[in-house]
Symmetry: C2
Subunit: 316 residues, 2 copies
């Protein structure tokens, strides 16, 4: 254990010195839940809280990776070090298209100020990797100024990304009936900013108009943040400057309003709960054939006990 | 609490005497997680274990409700009392079509030996209602011989239904590329029986052939159950007799092989775990602003503690 702590500390020190290989190894170990996971998290804890986390989500085909890539370029031009976590869907349907998008990220492959990492998503329902919160903390400790988390906006992942990010950016594009579907899926509530991408296509202004109507129908607290809409054409770089500026304003608002502290506290709560619940699940399962769960389950199956009383017994 | 127990016991007694309204009230209270939930589950526990649970799943459009309805008719002709739990998707896309299907179930509306109940699915990702296991136990205690659980085969629900049912029936139809998609989604593993419905349409025999190939490629333990394929046209009633017969054979095999006990034990384990984990989640959350979770979360957010050590502290 002491050796593990020393190794983790050495890797973290190297990553903080800009060693990309050390950083990649740390993220791999975190993702694999390697025995070193706990030692790594203990080693990075003191160095956290510096990075801004920007979540980017949207349906397949809206140009998410292109927007991410353009935003990374703008942030680099402003001298910021940028980490990117791209959460791949395992779905065979969108996997192909995404792979093509990802190639565009190669623009930054030779830039030492950019670290890009793909992570597997959890199960075929999508959802972020269970290790995403920890991977974020590792990048944060490595000294990146901004971390972009990009995920496909299907199902669970959209909601989860809002739990991880300081600023959540929902990307739409014309011709996909997106504004309506987005509103239905409850994504309106998670967006801090909207980007309507592919502004060169027919219908972009209609998407903006629909979004404006929906935002107008929402209720916003006095002094609260009302999500702005940025019209962009990421392939040409149009609108990306405005996007970066709006993100800066959101960042200022987060700090000024106390919302940043509130979100980061909520994030820590969620992360700790998830770890605690996973630990309890493992403990409840115990060794098959030799656990208290097996004992109470047999009594429930035989009708001698109900499941609620069984849960009480287990937890007492 | 004593009054609640007395009320629950009276409702359960009435339901066991064939009072459909009492039964409907019990299921509603279970679904709403009413204060009476625990009292109800304690009251039904001694009367469980009698009913056979048959799960029916498949993609939208394969004729799931028609197969369910035809199977109910066959079971009724054999003198069995039948309960049906239909788990509605909340998706606006399939909701309409399903409603049309459900109307067919009205054939049984005047039959006192049939109880039909729709339950909401959990969230927009589908999945069975969290209360489905408890609703099943209520129907079981009410004395039904067979309980059919019908769910739309998208995402999580398919896998969950196999956890609830003694026999899982996967329904396919020609012209939907279903066999291949089904295999991809891992549904092959959960099927105890396959029904290829709409046998009057072109391509039905090709679906059977594809399924046979996939089943042949699987490995089946010596003396194990190899899922049979039933070709059916549920609207005309064709193949339903064979389906009922195959289900009886599966039921015999479940008992003979010890698999029934194994499945019911696994089901009880899962049900208890889910209840215990939900209780712990509530407990961890505590009262906002006044919980130990808030305290450790603040230290994690400030970088003074890592999330794993925080979880340890909470659980100790």
């Amino acid at each position: 254990m002491a050796a593990e702590q020393a190794r983790a500390a050495a890797l973290v020190a190297a990553a903080r010195d800009g060693d990309a290989r050390a950083l990649a190894r740390l993220v791999s170990q975190v993702e694999n839940g390697a025995p070193a996971l706990r030692a790594i998290m203990a080693a990075v804890a003191p160095y956290g809280g510096h990075a801004r986390v920007i979540g980017l989500t949207g349906s397949p085909g809206v140009g998410k990776s292109t927007v991410t890539s353009a935003l990374v370029r703008a942030l680099r031009a402003a001298g910021r070090r940028v980490g990117v976590l791209a959460v791949d869907p395992t779905s065979p349907f969108s996997g192909g298209a995404l792979l093509g998008d990802r190639v565009r990220m190669q623009d930054h492959a030779t830039d030492a100020g950019v670290f890009i990492r793909s992570m597997a998503s959890r199960g075929h329902l999508g959802g972020l990797s269970a290790a995403a919160p920890q991977a974020l903390r590792v990048l944060d400790a490595a000294g990146f100024d901004v971390i972009c988390v990009e995920t496909v906006g299907v199902g669970q992942a959209e909601v989860e990304i809002a739990g991880l990010a300081d600023s959540t950016l929902v990307i739409l594009a014309p011709g996909m009936g997106d504004a309506i579907q987005t509103a239905k899926a409850g994504v309106l509530e998670i967006a801090d900013l909207f980007v309507v991408n592919k502004s060169d296509r027919d219908g972009a202004r209609e998407v903006v108009r629909d979004l404006r109507t929906m935002i107008a129908m929402g209720t916003w607290p006095q002094g609260g943040w009302k999500p702005p809409i940025v019209l962009a054409c990421a392939t040409a770089g149009d609108g990306i400057g405005e996007l970066a500026e709006r993100l800066d304003r959101h960042w200022e608002w987060l700090g000024r309003s106390g919302e940043l502290d509130r979100r980061r506290l909520a994030r820590a709560r969620e992360e700790i709960s998830a770890i605690a619940v996973a630990a309890i699940r493992r403990r409840l399962g115990g060794v098959p054939g030799d656990s208290r769960l097996d004992d109470v389950a047999a009594r429930v199956a035989a009708g001698k006990l109900d499941a609620f009383s069984a849960a009480d017994e287990l937890l007492s």
